[in-house]
């Protein structure tokens, strides 16, 4: 009997199990290159894995922005070459960011959705003194403990999402003396969000029936749903991310649980992927195509024309960041990252496709902006697959400072390394 063959076969099977785990980890880079005199901008975002659906919109957003900027004369008359790649995970994101800066000589990196990968890119950007515009990472930590001079945040911070959603919950009487049951994504983003949510709850007299961490690869929520049903909370809170939000909503309705649902993180593309009749709850949102300002409508029209579907919050983030980078560089007539940082820190105002202009706050580089909340429409009122929810009026109110939603210096201290 050939003994060596046994172990080889059996080991093969085990290797198979390991290899499948790696399957999702490889992506295909989409590299657009041309002449040396062009200016290069790097774009990194997860395009596979549980955040992949959002990454696809991010790429659409940045691509459209680059086309529009180039059509309008580029940056100081030079065209932009976009180098867009899948960031995959923090390790790969870090390696790719190094390569974009050292080999491709990009003037800025834009993108990312995973807070863990965003942190990795930010460190590379800081070390090389190259701009990094964060378009999709929500963790407060990136604006606080891990903040740095070269990182700017177009995406709202977790505490801004919690403040916006919290306003709606306070209005509906869902906080004081109420028992919450929360499910939280078990990685950097979720932990950070849970911390901020707890701070909000403690300040407003709510309490937890339970708060549970959910591994990011959970697709079947039935065991959690049975637990929630037994706990009989007043409100179920989702601190989940990506596809998990969709699976959670779908299965929640499948099991017919009666408790109201809210969440502190949300992406429209996920709701579209779940579809009418499978969505519920009140959620915060940073932007939606229902915001009717002239520039917002121009963006929506151009996007629909190019891609045949409306943009959502992630496409907005990457589109907007790219525009801001180009605007700032054209304004100061330099692509030097350090000069751009100085310009932005002086409080340059930008059109952010909302009713009020925004600016990047000087001490943590967070874009100060209005936020929204949404509630889903009854199925009978849904017109098409993109039309699922009603958007609230923006918060803060027009007579309030934009900063009321954002964390204060004591809540989220940021000391930028030199």
């Amino acid at each position: 009997m050939d003994r060596s063959k046994v172990s080889r076969r059996r080991r093969g099977l085990l290797q198979g199990a390991g290899a499948t785990a790696a399957l999702g980890a490889l992506g295909f880079p989409a590299i657009v290159r041309s002449q040396a005199e062009n200016i290069r901008i790097g774009h990194l975002t997860p395009r596979t894995g549980f955040l992949g659906p959002l990454g696809e919109y991010a790429v659409m957003g940045v691509t459209l922005a680059v086309e529009e900027i180039n059509a309008a004369g580029g940056i100081m008359g030079r065209k932009i070459d976009l180098i867009a790649e899948d960031s995959v995970n923090p390790q790969t994101a870090s390696t790719k960011a190094e390569r974009l800066i050292e080999r491709d000589k990009v003037v800025a990196i834009i993108g990312e959705i995973s807070s863990a990968s965003g942190l990795a890119i930010a460190q590379v950007a800081q070390r090389n003194r190259i701009l990094f515009f964060n378009t999709g990472c929500n963790s407060d930590e990136l604006r606080g403990k891990a903040c740095n001079r070269y990182m700017f945040h177009t995406e709202a911070a977790n505490s801004m999402y919690v403040a916006a959603e919290g306003n709606a919950l306070l209005r509906d009487g869902m906080v004081k003396g109420k028992k919450w049951y929360s499910l939280t994504a078990d990685y950097a983003f979720g932990h950070d969000l849970l911390r901020v949510a707890k701070r909000f709850m403690a300040a407003n007299g709510g309490e937890f029936a339970a708060d549970e961490l959910v591994p990011t690869d959970v697709a079947d929520f039935s065991p959690y749903l049975l637990k929630i049903r037994n706990a009989k909370p007043d409100l179920v809170i989702s601190n989940l991310a990506g596809n998990q939000i969709g699976n959670f909503m779908k299965q929640y309705l499948e099991f017919g649980l009666p408790f109201p649902v809210a969440g502190f993180g949300f992406d429209t593309a996920i709701a579209w992927g779940v579809g009418k009749g499978n969505v519920l709850g009140t959620w915060p949102l940073v932007w939606d195509s229902q915001v009717k300002t002239p520039s917002s409508q121009r963006f929506v029209e151009a996007f629909v024309k190019k891609y045949g579907k409306p943009p959502e919050n992630q496409a907005w983030g990457d589109y907007l960041s790219t525009k801001h980078v180009a605007l700032a560089m054209n304004e100061i007539k330099s692509t030097d990252s350090t000069k751009v940082v100085e310009h932005l820190e002086k409080g340059a105002k930008f059109d952010i496709l909302k009713t009020r202009e925004g600016y990047y706050r000087d001490w943590d580089h967070q874009l100060m902006q209005q936020m929204y909340t949404l509630t889903f429409k009854p199925v009978a009122e849904v017109k098409d697959r993109w039309d699922l929810f009603t958007l609230s009026a923006p918060v803060p109110a027009t007579d309030q400072s934009l900063e009321v939603l954002a964390p204060t210096k004591t809540e989220n201290a940021c000391t930028m390394p030199a």
Binding site: M1, G12, L13, A219, P223, L226, I270, W272
Partner: protein, 290 residues
């Protein structure tokens, strides 16, 4: 508390069906062809995507029947053109082939349908819950469990009680003896692969309304299915069935007592089983693998 634990155990048994259909196909192809099919998840995803497209036109019922058939036909083409060249080769080559196939399939789905998930609902007639005492359950999942049970039962009858099954089982045990008797395994392999990928596609159709239709869905479920096969033991039909149920229950209980370890629990279970039973729970001594 006891009631709640019982609830999790029952739910775990039902949720075991989640991995079962995929794991059975994997073990069939592996034990007969010696091929570790890393592309098995891709067939599962194909099943779900076909179901969405067919259901758009014909409704859920026809999708449920036609999608596995369509995937089985693709399986035959893949077996005839690719798999068959690798049965007697170094297993590493088969791994490379199927790993590559899985990537091609996932990227193709992303390219054609986009990375965003595609909406697919439980058909209205199957929506709703069943209440037994205080135990609530989704009607659709009960149906899913019933379908899985029928599929598993059917497969068992096919393997145990038909001439086809006898040849397949003999092929698993001793292909050389089979060849000496003048029976060629080649035509059987095509049927086995077709059957195995059809089961995966059936799982894809059934799970599509629950866990979403997106390009990476195949890779997501494949790892867990491999774990089930390893725990159950190579070549053992009932081993895989039992392993799927145990994984479901262990996962449910872990979520009850310590949720962050939900997905880690099945890997721990695998380590434990392999420590004490290196062939898996019911792993048979298969001569040609010894």
């Amino acid at each position: 508390m006891l009631i709640q634990i019982l609830e999790q155990v029952l739910n775990g048994l039902l949720a075991g069906a989640y991995y079962l259909l995929i794991a059975l196909g994997l073990t069939l192809i592996f034990s007969l062809g010696g091929l570790v099919n890393l592309a098995h998840g891709a067939f599962y995803a194909l099943g779900a995507y076909f179901a969405v497209k067919i259901a758009d036109v014909l409704g859920f019922g026809p999708a449920f029947v036609l999608s596995p058939i369509a995937v089985a036909l693709i399986g035959i083409v893949v077996e005839r053109s690719l798999f068959r060249r690798f049965y007697r080769e170094d297993p590493a080559l088969g791994l490379l082939l199927t790993f590559g196939l899985a990537m091609v399939a996932e990227q193709a789905l992303r390219w054609i349908f986009g990375a965003a998930p595609i909406p697919f609902s439980i058909p209205p007639a199957l929506k709703g819950q069943v209440l037994v005492g205080d135990f609530i359950y989704s009607k659709y999942r009960l149906l899913m469990f019933a379908v899985a049970t029928v599929a598993v039962g059917g497969l068992w009858v096919l393997l145990q009680k038909t001439p086809f099954g006898r040849v397949v089982r003999a092929g698993v045990q001793n292909p050389d003896m089979l060849a000496a008797l003048g029976i060629s395994l080649a035509p059987y392999m095509a049927s086995v692969v077709a059957l195995a990928v059809a089961l995966a596609a059936l799982a894809g159709v059934l799970l599509a309304p629950i866990s979403g239709v997106h390009p990476a869905m195949g890779a997501d479920i494949l790892t867990a299915s491999f774990v089930v096969v390893v725990i159950g033991g190579l070549g053992s039909f009932w081993g895989v069935v039992l392993a799927a149920l145990i994984v479901g229950v262990v996962r449910g209980l872990t979520i009850y007592f310590y949720p962050p370890a939900a997905e880690a629990s099945m890997y721990l279970l695998m380590v434990l089983v392999l420590l004490f039973r290196p062939r898996g729970l019911f792993g048979e001594r298969i001569q040609r693998f010894e």
